[in-house]
């Protein structure tokens, strides 16, 4: 494994340098520098309010940082807004499920593909775009095991399937980097296990780099190549599962305080 911020070696797919975001006096994310290598599966953990979601907003461009930089494939993308970063290859899901409720499951995924690849200002016709994006959407639904629900309205899916649908939307965009904000939140243990299996499969089949926020430590230690620990907005540790387990500071700040 590449050490943090090594100067030589391969360019990380994603790098943040001194990334920070303040909300008034509150420093939600403070001086976070991390590097994620291509094909890595990185977990970000930390107690509630640690700044994990804010960090995702900063990486995906939904929030502008108050300090620091975001580099994607070696390019500084700090000034790019969320849509442009998505087109460059950063797709994401949200902690609170964010889908198009009154559109069909298929259309949710299809529009995700269209917005990435298509001819979006085609006012008449556009069959080719519609068909090409539908093809890719169906592939993605199959990968997530949602293909038999394609024609249902997204709002009628159970919570667990809606979480999967959101992953299907992001995965269908064939991003280089996929950000998953608590994909197993609110799921039963069985659904959690199924979702974890699906994430692993998506990562492998699509050769994706994934950053994932997750609370379930079993999931984290099982799934992640490396783990970054946030505490009060700061990165207090980073390493493999074994290293994080052994880290005294993490024990004190987080793992000990849990349960």
């Amino acid at each position: 494994m590449t050490p943090l911020l090594e100067t030589r070696g391969p360019t990380p797919l994603l790098e943040t340098r001194g990334l920070g975001r303040a909300f008034g006096a509150l420093q939600a994310v403070a001086g976070v520098s991390l590097a994620v290598q291509p094909m890595e599966l990185r977990a970000v953990i930390g107690p509630n309010g640690a700044g994990k979601t804010t960090l995702f907003h900063l990486i995906s461009g939904l929030l502008a940082p108050t300090a620091g930089h975001v580099l994607f494939r070696g390019d500084d993308v700090t000034a790019l807004a969320a849509p442009a970063r998505c087109r460059r290859g950063i797709s994401r899901t949200f902690q609170i499920t964010s889908i198009f409720p009154e559109l069909s499951v298929l259309e949710n995924v299809r529009i995700a593909v269209q917005l990435k690849i298509g001819d979006n200002f085609r006012l008449l016709g556009g069959r080719a775009v519609l068909e090409a994006s539908e093809q890719r959407a169906r592939d993605s639904l199959r990968l997530l095991g949602l293909d038999d629900r394609a024609d249902e309205l997204a709002s009628t899916l159970p919570h667990g399937d809606q979480r999967l649908l959101e992953i299907a939307m992001a995965a269908a965009q064939e991003p280089a980097l996929l950000l998953l904000d608590e994909p197993t939140q609110g799921l039963s243990p069985e659904d959690t296990a199924a979702t974890v299996a699906v994430i692993r499969q998506v990562a492998r089949e699509r050769k994706l780099t994934i950053i994932l926020v997750e609370h379930d430590m079993d999931v984290v230690f099982d799934l992640a190549d490396r783990i970054s620990v946030l505490h009060f907005g700061q990165l207090i540790a980073e390493g493999t599962a074994a290293e994080i387990r052994a880290n005294a500071e993490v024990q004190k700040a987080y793992l000990g305080g849990l349960d």
Binding site: S60, L62, A81, A82, P83, C86, R87, S91, R92, F94, S98, I99, F100, P101, E102, L103, E107, R110, I111, A112, Q114, L115, K116, G118, D119, N120, F121, R122, L123, L124, G125, G126, V129, L130, M169, Q173
Partner: protein, 310 residues
């Protein structure tokens, strides 16, 4: 879907034969209904498909009416030239208004569209030299379809022009909402933040559909002026914008054809009752409330739900 195709065919046949069935004043009323229907349908593009509730849509109807009236009165051009002028002026004004208004969302968008519409209404009211002020422009002629071509002076001929414009507009709007662009609009309506994080800025989409909606509202207004023979500030007043919202909801938001029917129902109630009482709006209000409560999805939404079930 076969039933909807059948009903579309039936509607087309009905539109084609009614001029030989209805009396002249009835045909004239139907023409009125269709013009209002086109206006409501154009509003549905932004309201039903994009989730942008405009409180100022009458402004574009009014701009179309004034442009058409002026072209016909001062330049004596054939009616299609006036229609083009009305649609273009409405679309052109919608560009800056839409550019500003789509910076806001929800109620702020609604308030901006209202403010711009009332501004345009005031201009129409005050610019007496051009618009005739509160009197408006009267004596707008029904010029022919083209010079040396068929006259549009008869109520039957003008009815056919209006019916053709409405049907054609309906087909164009249907194609638009089914295109990649139209699909994007519906995603914006459903979840704008999701849309943004999937790779596109929603604002240009909203601006384009705002302008398209204005163009069709302008076309409706441009038909209205020669049909009624006048253009006046009332057609730009906010009350008409509000009635447009009611028409869309009564007929079925996000269905295009629903708002046409909603507008027809609305104007029909108004026409029938206003000869008995000046308080016809009470009855319209009651019908509106009943539809909202008992027929969610409006006339067409309810019909489709029932059709899907049985």
């Amino acid at each position: 879907m076969i039933p909807s195709r059948l009903s579309a065919l039936a509607a087309l046949v009905a539109l084609a034969v009614v001029p030989w069935v209805l009396a002249r004043h009835q045909l004239s009323l139907l023409t009125d209904l269709l013009i209002a229907g086109l206006f409501a349908m154009s509003l549905d593009l932004i309201m039903g498909y994009t989730g942008m509730v405009s409180f100022g849509h009458a402004a574009y109807f009014g701009l179309g009416a004034y442009a058409s009236a002026l072209v016909l009165l001062h330049f004596a051009q054939p009616v299609p030239v006036a229609l083009l002028a009305g649609a273009l002026l409405a679309g052109a004004v919608a560009v800056p208004v839409g550019w500003f208004s789509t910076r806001a969302t929800g109620i702020y968008f609604a308030m901006l569209t209202l403010a711009f519409a009332q501004f345009l209404y005031t201009v129409a009211y005050k610019w007496r030299d051009l618009t005739g002020g509160s009197d408006g422009i009267a004596g707008v002629p029904k010029t022919p379809l083209f010079w040396g071509g068929p006259s549009l002076a008869s109520s039957r001929a003008f009815y056919f022009l209006v019916a053709a414009c409405v049907v054609l507009s309906l087909f164009v709007c249907r194609a638009v909402v089914r295109s990649p662009f139209g699909r994007a609009l519906q995603a914006i309506r459903e979840n704008e933040r999701r849309f943004t994080s999937l790779g596109r800025d929603p604002r240009p989409f909203k601006l384009v559909v705002f302008v398209i909606a204005a163009v069709f509202a302008g076309l409706a207004g441009a038909l209205f002026a020669p049909f009624r023979g006048f253009a006046s500030p009332e057609v730009m007043f906010w009350v008409f914008s509000g009635q447009g919202l009611m028409m869309v909801i009564m007929g079925g938001i996000g269905t295009l054809v629903g708002p046409v029917l909603g507008a027809m129902l609305f104007i029909l109630i108004q026409e029938v009752l206003s000869s008995y009482t000046e308080h016809w709006m009470i009855f319209t209000g009651v019908v509106f409330v009943l539809i909202v409560i008992f027929l969610p999805g409006g006339l067409v939404g309810t019909a489709r739900r029932l059709g899907a079930r049985g």
